[in-house]
Symmetry: C2
Subunit: 434 residues, 2 copies
C-alpha cells in the first residue's frame, strides 16, 4: 500500500523487475496534462487529429457492410501479418508517396507505435545506439528507452537532419565501439519540429547509412497531410533493402481503430510477423475490415483533402497569432502535419513555465520531452491539429501573456537555476531548430 504521509509508494515487488523496467518512467508533465484536459484549458499540447471532420455517415456504412457481409470473420482472430485485402489498400496508399511494395512486404500493426516497439525489440540489445533527429518524437524515445537503447540525437536545421552531423556522430560512436542499430527519421513535417527533410538530404543521408551499414527507420504518419505541395518522395522509394517504413491510418483516418503498418526487407519482415504474433497474436480483424472497406468504397482522397485544408487553416491561424502576440519568439513554419516548434528568448524555461501557462488556461508540450539528454528548455511544441482556429488564437493570446510576464520576471530577477545549469552544459552538437 502507498503511504500517503511519506509520499512513497511501497512496491513489494520492487526487487523483481527486469533491468529494462528502469527505462519506464512517467513523464514529469503527466500530472499537469491531466489538469490541462479540462474543457476551459486551450490545449496546444496533444497531437490528436481532428476526427470530428470525418464523414460519420460513410464510416457507419462501412461498419454496417462489414458486419452484414463478413460479421463472423470480422469478429474472429486473423492472420498475424494482417488481412490481405487491407494490405492491398496500403500498397495503393504508399504508391502516392513513391513507394513500390508488394502485399507480402506489409505487416499490419496496432498503430505504428507497435511497429516501433517490435522493431526495437528485434534489434536493440541494452546499450545499443539509435540515432534520432534532435529533437525527436517523444513516443519513439519512450520505446527506445524501454529496451535500454542509447538514444543519440543528431543536429538538424530547417532542412532536417544535417548529413555532416550524422557522419560525425556515427564516427564518434564507432570509435567508442557502440553498435548503432538504426537511424530513426520522421522526414515529413517532423514531430515535434515541423520541418521537412529536403530531397537532396534524403539521398545523402541514405548514402551515409548504407556506407555504414545502418538500417534506416522511416516514420511517416503525416506525409499525405501536406499543405501547398507534396513533400519529396519517401526515403523507402529510393531503397528497398535498407529502409524500414512505418505508416499509419491514425492521421489520414482515425487513431481510435489503432491500425498502422510496417514495410520491411524480406528477412526482417518475417521476424516482425513472429514478434507481432508473440505480442498480440493478430491485429484487430474488425478494425482492419472497416478500414479496408472505407478505403475501397469511400472517397478517402477527398477526405484527406478536407483534412489538409483544415490543418492548413489552423497552421495559418497559429502563425498569424504568433506574429501578432509574440513577435519576438521565433518558430518553424511547417509545410504540413500538426506541429510548430518555438524557440523562447534566452533565460526562459518551457518546463518551468508550464504550470503558469496551465493557470492561464493554455497548455503546450515543453521541449525537454523531445530530447533524451535533458536539452530543450528553451523550446516548446505547439500542436495546431485539434483546436478550432478561434481557440488557437485565444490559446496563443494566453500563451503570449505568460511568456511576456516570464520575460519581465527574468529581466528583473535573472534566469532560473536550471537555465544557468543548462547554459554551462550545453551540447554544441545539438543546436536544435529555429
Amino acid at each position: 500500500m502507498a503511504s500517503p504521509a511519506s509520499g512513497i509508494s511501497l512496491d513489494p515487488w520492487f526487487d523483481n523487475y527486469a533491468d529494462r523496467a528502469s527505462g519506464l518512467s512517467a513523464s514529469e508533465v503527466r500530472a499537469l496534462f491531466a489538469v490541462a484536459s479540462r474543457p476551459e484549458v486551450v490545449s496546444l499540447a496533444g497531437g490528436m487529429p481532428f476526427v470530428a471532420a470525418l464523414p460519420f455517415d460513410k464510416v457507419r456504412s462501412s461498419v454496417d457492410r462489414v458486419l452484414r457481409d463478413s460479421g463472423p470473420s470480422a469478429l474472429q482472430y486473423g492472420s498475424g501479418q494482417g488481412l490481405p485485402q487491407l494490405r492491398e489498400r496500403i500498397v495503393e496508399i504508399m504508391a502516392l508517396e513513391g513507394i513500390r511494395a508488394g502485399v507480402d512486404d506489409v505487416v499490419v500493426t496496432t498503430g505504428s507505435q507497435q511497429g516501433l516497439d517490435l522493431i526495437t525489440k528485434l534489434f536493440v540489445n541494452p546499450g545499443d545506439a539509435i540515432l534520432t533527429e534532435s529533437p525527436s518524437y517523444v513516443g519513439a524515445m519512450g520505446v527506445f528507452r524501454s529496451y535500454q537503447a542509447r538514444v543519440e540525437h543528431v543536429a538538424m536545421d530547417e532542412q532536417g537532419m544535417i548529413p555532416q552531423a550524422l557522419t560525425e556522430r556515427i564516427d564518434y560512436l564507432t570509435r567508442q565501439n557502440v553498435p548503432i542499430k538504426f537511424l530513426y527519421l520522421i522526414p515529413n513535417f517532423q514531430n515535434p519540429a515541423g520541418v521537412t527533410l529536403s530531397a537532396k538530404r534524403r539521398l545523402d543521408i541514405l548514402d551515409i547509412a548504407k556506407a555504414h551499414k545502418i538500417l534506416v527507420l522511416e516514420d511517416n504518419p503525416y506525409g499525405l497531410l501536406w499543405f501547398d505541395k507534396p513533400p519529396p518522395p519517401a526515403i523507402r522509394s529510393a531503397d528497398d533493402s535498407g529502409v524500414i517504413y512505418l505508416g499509419s491510418f491514425s492521421k489520414t483516418f482515425a487513431p481510435g481503430l489503432r491500425v498502422g503498418w510496417v514495410v520491411a526487407p524480406h528477412g526482417i519482415r518475417e521476424k516482425l510477423v513472429l514478434a507481432s504474433e508473440a505480442a498480440i497474436l493478430s491485429p484487430s480483424s474488425f478494425s482492419q475490415m472497416i478500414l479496408s472497406d472505407y478505403f475501397e468504397h469511400q472517397d478517402w482522397k477527398g477526405q484527406i483533402d478536407t483534412f489538409r485544408g483544415l490543418y492548413q487553416e489552423r497552421r495559418d491561424t497559429m502563425a498569424a497569432a504568433l506574429a501578432s502576440f509574440l513577435p519576438g519568439v521565433s518558430h518553424t513554419m511547417p509545410l504540413g502535419g500538426f506541429y510548430m516548434w518555438l524557440t523562447l528568448p534566452e533565460g526562459l524555461d518551457s518546463k518551468e513555465m508550464l504550470p503558469r501557462a496551465v493557470t492561464e488556461l493554455v497548455a503546450y508540450t515543453p521541449g525537454t520531452a523531445f530530447y533524451a539528454n535533458g536539452e530543450g528548455q528553451r523550446h516548446l511544441r505547439l500542436a495546431f491539429c485539434y483546436p478550432t482556429p478561434e481557440f488557437i488564437t485565444e490559446g496563443i493570446k494566453r500563451l503570449a501573456k505568460v511568456i511576456t510576464e516570464e520575460i519581465e520576471l527574468v529581466s528583473t530577477f535573472g534566469p532560473p537555476a536550471s537555465e544557468i545549469a543548462q547554459a554551462t552544459n550545453v551540447d554544441s552538437s545539438s543546436p536544435g531548430v529555429n
Copy 2:
C-alpha cells in the same frame, strides 16, 4: 534476395538483430496449418471461439449507438490504461469469479496476449525462470522465449499442477541461483490439457508461491465457459498483493476486437500502464466502447449461457466419438473451455503423424507445441470449440483411421527414430497428463 536454388533466405541484416530475436522461430507445423485451413480439412487444431453464435443484430445496435452517441471519441486516442466505463464492466464480470477489484486496478490490453507480453517485458531478464504447467499455452511460451526466459515445466495431473512438484522445482532452481520471476497458471479448463486446478491446490500453490516470494500470473480466458458447475474461485480472489490476473473478451464475446485486461497489484499496475503506452500508446477506443455498450445494454450473461451449451454439446460429441472410434486412446474430460488432451499408445509420435492426418483431411496440434523442452510426442490437443458436432464426429473418424494405421505401422516396423530418442531421454519430473 532469397536464393530459390539453395532454399536459403539470405538476410543482409542477420548480424544486426538483438540477442532476444533468436527466441523467435516459426512453429514447425506452421506451413502445415496453412494447408490445414482449406475448407475440406476438419480442423481440430485452432482455438477459435464460435463467434457465429453471437447475436449480430445486437452487436450492430451497440456499434450504431457508439458511432451515433460518441463517434469522435470512439475514433480518437484514448487513455493508456483503458476507458473507465469499460473497466467498470470488467470489475462486474470478475465479481462472478469471486474477484473484488477497483476500476483503478484494471489495465485494458490488446487481447490478454498483450498483457502476457507486457508482464514478461517488465519482469524477465535473460535467463530468468518462469514456472509453467506441463504442458502449457503455446502462445505464452512464445512470449516468454521472446524475452529469453527459461521456461520450467511443473508436473500436473487431473487436479492440475502438483504442489509437491512445484516445491521441488523451486528448490532445484533456488539451489542453482536461477531467479524465478513468476508462476504462470491457467487454472480453469487449461490450454492445452483441459484440466481444472482443484480448490485446495489453488490455496496450496498460492501458499507455496507466497512463501518463496514468487508472483502468480493467473490466466483465465475460459473461466466463465463452465459446463455443469462453475470452477473454484479465481486464485486472485484469495490474494490481492501477489497475484496478477489476466482476463479476456475473446472467448465470452469475440477475439476480433482484441480486448483483454490485466489486474495487478498497485505498483506493478502503474508500470504496466507505462509499458503499454510505450508499446501501443492506447488500446482501441472503438473496440472498448463497443464492448462497454454491449456489456451494459445486451444480455451478455444469456449469451455466455448459449456459448456454454454449445461448447458442452461439442465436448460431449467429441468424447462420444473418441469412445466409439478410438477406445484405446486415453484423453482428459474437460469441465469447460475448448480443449481435450489425448495420450497416444506407446510408439506413436503426434508431430510425425500430422502430415498423414492432414492427408486424411483432419488437423490437430501436436503435443510438442506445448512444451519448451521437446516433450509431448505422445500427446496431442484437440479443440472442440469451432467445428459443428457433425464435423467433430467426422474429424474423429478420420483421426481414428490415421491413428489405427499408425499403430499397425509401429507394431510391424517398430517405433520411429525420434520416439526411441525420447524414450531414453524422458524427464521423469514431467509426466504429462492422462
